[in-house]
Symmetry: none
Amino acid sequence: MPKKVNKTEKMKAIADVSITVFKTHGFHDTRMADIAQAAKIGKGTIYEYFKNKADILRYALNQYFHAFTLGAMQTMEDVTEPLEKLLSLIEFAFRHAAAWEDHCTVYVDYFGTARREQEFRIYLDGIYTDMEFILESIIKEGQQAGKFDMAFDSAAVAVLLVSLYEGVILYDVFKGKPGNRKIIRDAAVRLIARGLKSDRPEK
Amino acid sequence: MPKKVNKTEKMKAIADVSITVFKTHGFHDTRMADIAQAAKIGKGTIYEYFKNKADILRYALNQYFHAFTLGAMQTMEDVTEPLEKLLSLIEFAFRHAAAWEDHCTVYVDYFGTARREQEFRIYLDGIYTDMEFILESIIKEGQQAGKFDMAFDSAAVAVLLVSLYEGVILYDVFKGKPGNRKIIRDAAVRLIARGLKSDRPEK
Amino acid sequence: MPKKVNKTEKMKAIADVSITVFKTHGFHDTRMADIAQAAKIGKGTIYEYFKNKADILRYALNQYFHAFTLGAMQTMEDVTEPLEKLLSLIEFAFRHAAAWEDHCTVYVDYFGTARREQEFRIYLDGIYTDMEFILESIIKEGQQAGKFDMAFDSAAVAVLLVSLYEGVILYDVFKGKPGNRKIIRDAAVRLIARGLKSDRPEK
Amino acid sequence: MPKKVNKTEKMKAIADVSITVFKTHGFHDTRMADIAQAAKIGKGTIYEYFKNKADILRYALNQYFHAFTLGAMQTMEDVTEPLEKLLSLIEFAFRHAAAWEDHCTVYVDYFGTARREQEFRIYLDGIYTDMEFILESIIKEGQQAGKFDMAFDSAAVAVLLVSLYEGVILYDVFKGKPGNRKIIRDAAVRLIARGLKSDRPEK
DNA sequence: CATGAATGAGGATTCATTCAT
DNA sequence: TATGAATGAATCCTCATTCAT
């Protein structure tokens, strides 16, 4: 039992170090030797914990997505009002991206490759589908409650929100560390809130 | 005297073929031999027209961005009303992405690498800055005309729109060929139009 | 007839240009394109006059050795006294090396390769043998005339003189353009003259 | 823990094998695969010990020159009389060349290239300068002691002796394995001894 | 004759992965 | 369990040479 814990801890340690190295050199241009050196272990030792280089990345990104899903769930737990729920979710998403900035960067780096890898594709597709499902539910809920404009295709809006989120991450990754993040996110929240809002005056 | 080739045409031909190969195999996993075979020329011939593999990609993406800029300019030429201008620009952007789908895909593939390449970074940064400048101008114009909500930070909205655009492209690239593009883009146009609209009733 | 003359002239022109290019870049690192460019002709044209790159070098070095042999013969024509003949030959050799400095440099560059090329080896061996034969004859002549010390093995001295000559060329090639050439050659002449001189007082 | 290798020993082993391969094929025409095969190791292993092909050569020639310098020092240690010192040095140089015959051959092969390589040039220049300095000192010493003819420029004689040495090596390399080495070297020693000798009868 | 576009054989080098210790 | 020495598959790119024009 304690050995198992050690193993998991070491995997996490290696994966964390790897992410910072991937961020600097890019996934493809990172050598196993770079990781070993950064993690202060032997090259061979990496293979005791991971099948290969891609496996490290998969593990690290899995942690990133897992934390996202978990956080999103917790965020929504105590909120019932649709708009509030949506906006708090968006707030969380942005906070999560900021907290996992290195993982975001590496995720973008790997995205082009992931696209063509069956296994990862399915995994990522699941994440996206889940996010869209939750968003779509909230939109529908809001529309039924007369809070959101009925003319919107709820599924389309869900896709849109996911896309916007990915786009903002992409933008940040490209720009490096931006200072105006807050303003941009405020604008996003405002645009979405106003855009979705039902015209019918709420009584 | 040996046969005189049109260097530009041949570059374009090689670049076009390369893009389809890059799309299938990914930039990194595409071998020069793959390109040569697809272009039905010898491996060495590629090097008569391009310095190296990255050079082909740069050339192809440059064409893609160049066409975008050109098209965007033409789109705005005859439109004066801010909202109409914004929406027609968005329409154009989506049409452009659809028309240059292969380039979009490869662009996403290369984005992670581009991020770390000084030369390409500067180039791409210029494109982004231009797009943001145009969008910001339109937003400001609309705000001054009382059409757009004054509370928005125009620069932030510009960044947001660019991000949304990139995000939608990313989403499409990941999903492959989607059928519901139109619905999503309609939702986008609607969301933006409603979100930006001024509350002051226009008389 | 005139065409033949033109052909020879053009070969000489190409070979001369090639030597300066070889001197700068080295034989191996000189590209046919470099030669073509320097000679202001097309790459393909070189092959109208020479079988390949090595052929150009062979032609150029042949000219160099041919001029040497010719010059050596002329030098000895009017001299009968052995020591005088030997020294004037040495003087000539040094003058020749200075006049054909570029060829000397390239010759040294190519020597390592020549060593392993049967054809060139035989050719060069012939040159050496001829030089040694002439020198040996002079030594013997001088010994019979009581001018040179009898204890010397004439053949060995001949080899020694050839070696010294090659060594001085090598030294100059390595050093680049030296200013103290004259002093060194004077020392050489003095050393050889004193070293060979018979002890028997000449009456 | 993996097996601990003696890096220096392995470098020496690879370099030694390389020299014999270089001698046969020439530096340029030797493939890394040839060396690997001859050394009975994998191609990649070579790169664990040397940066590249030229690096192997540099290492090997460095050993050759190092041994020369060391040997020359030891040779002169117990000799005080100038002529004796000079001749024993010459004897040593010839012995060294014979003992390191393979290295000599490869050295000649590489000389043309070395000429154009800044790093190696500086290194080689240092060796030459050292040799010349030592020789010049001996000549001067001999002249002051009245043993050597005063008319000689000591620096010029030093250059001459170095050149003669290089020339004899060159000659041997070209000829392959000669049998008359001894005779030639005796002639050299005799020529130099007689040539330098002071005319003033020693009392 | 002259040319330069096209070619592909050839080779140095890299690096993920293995496995003996 | 940890290691790093050893490996060779894999690939970019060069450039002498050819030959259609």
